[in-house]
């Protein structure tokens, strides 16, 4: 069965600074990888996903994540954050066979300070 570990429960950064949110997964088969974002008092939104092809995937608001199979990682990065990026970020993995259930990490709360 697959599992996901988000290494940081909270990440405080200053506005316009770069940020990396770390995610490692475990699985015995090929996987699909996702990052979801939850803004305060809102529902879960898909930020980006890796299904196949290029290992670097991007979102429309400047985030990117790179699938690293050898390190079983899918870290999320942004070169310059804004106050509006304050949210909780969840990494998730599903296996490409079987029930394909989506398993989440514990979440990382990103706080942007002015």
């Amino acid at each position: 069965a697959q599992s996901v570990t988000q290494l940081d429960s909270q990440v405080p950064v200053f506005e316009e600074a770069p940020v990396e949110l770390r995610c490692n997964y475990s699985s015995s088969v090929s996987v699909y990888l996702f990052w979801y974002v939850q803004y305060p008092n809102q529902g879960l939104q898909l930020l980006l996903k890796y299904l196949s092809g290029s290992t670097l995937v991007e979102s429309i608001n400047g985030f990117e994540a790179e699938f690293n199979k050898s390190q079983t990682s899918f870290h999320l990065r942004k070169p310059s954050v804004h106050i509006s990026d304050t949210a909780e970020y969840f990494c998730a993995v599903s296996e490409d066979q079987g029930a394909q259930k989506l398993v989440f990490g514990q979440g990382t709360r990103l706080t942007i300070n002015p």
């Binding site: 988000q6 429960s9 699909y32 996702f34 529902g43 879960l44 898909l46 996903k49 299904l51 969840f90 998730a92 599903s94 029930a99 394909q100 259930k101 989506l102 398993v103 989440f104 990490g105 514990q106 979440g107």
Partner: protein, 116 residues
């Protein structure tokens, strides 16, 4: 776009009550999931279903059951609600990625359940 609808946004129930949380999707998807979300714990899978009347336990099934009598509807049942089941409950449907549609998952808005 796929729509996943959870019937209640907020619910308050008493300890010992039987509680039904309803989830409906409009795209004939086979796989549906129930999660609970708690601070610091992320989303944890309670149960999932891969077809009508087919269900499997997730990581935290204790105290819950599910029902899937029709493909579009997946119900989560708290047989006897307890205060430790106070949580946000999220339903999801898996988009199979066929017919030109990109694989993924669609989530409902969630039901915040408070058990008093």
């Amino acid at each position: 776009d796929v729509k996943v609808t959870q019937s209640s946004r907020y619910l308050v129930k008493r300890t010992g009550e039987k509680v039904f949380l309803e989830c409906v999707q409009d795209m004939d998807h086979e796989n549906m999931f129930w999660y609970r979300q708690d601070p610091g714990l992320g989303l944890r899978l309670i149960y999932f279903s891969y077809d009508v009347k087919m269900k499997e336990k997730g990581d935290i099934p204790e105290g819950y059951s599910v029902s899937r009598e029709k493909k579009e509807r997946f119900s989560l049942i708290l047989e006897s609600a307890s205060t430790n089941q106070t949580s946000m409950y999220l339903c999801a449907s898996r988009v199979p990625g066929t017919g030109g549609i990109i694989y993924g998952y669609t989530f409902g808005s969630g039901t915040r359940l408070t058990v008093v």
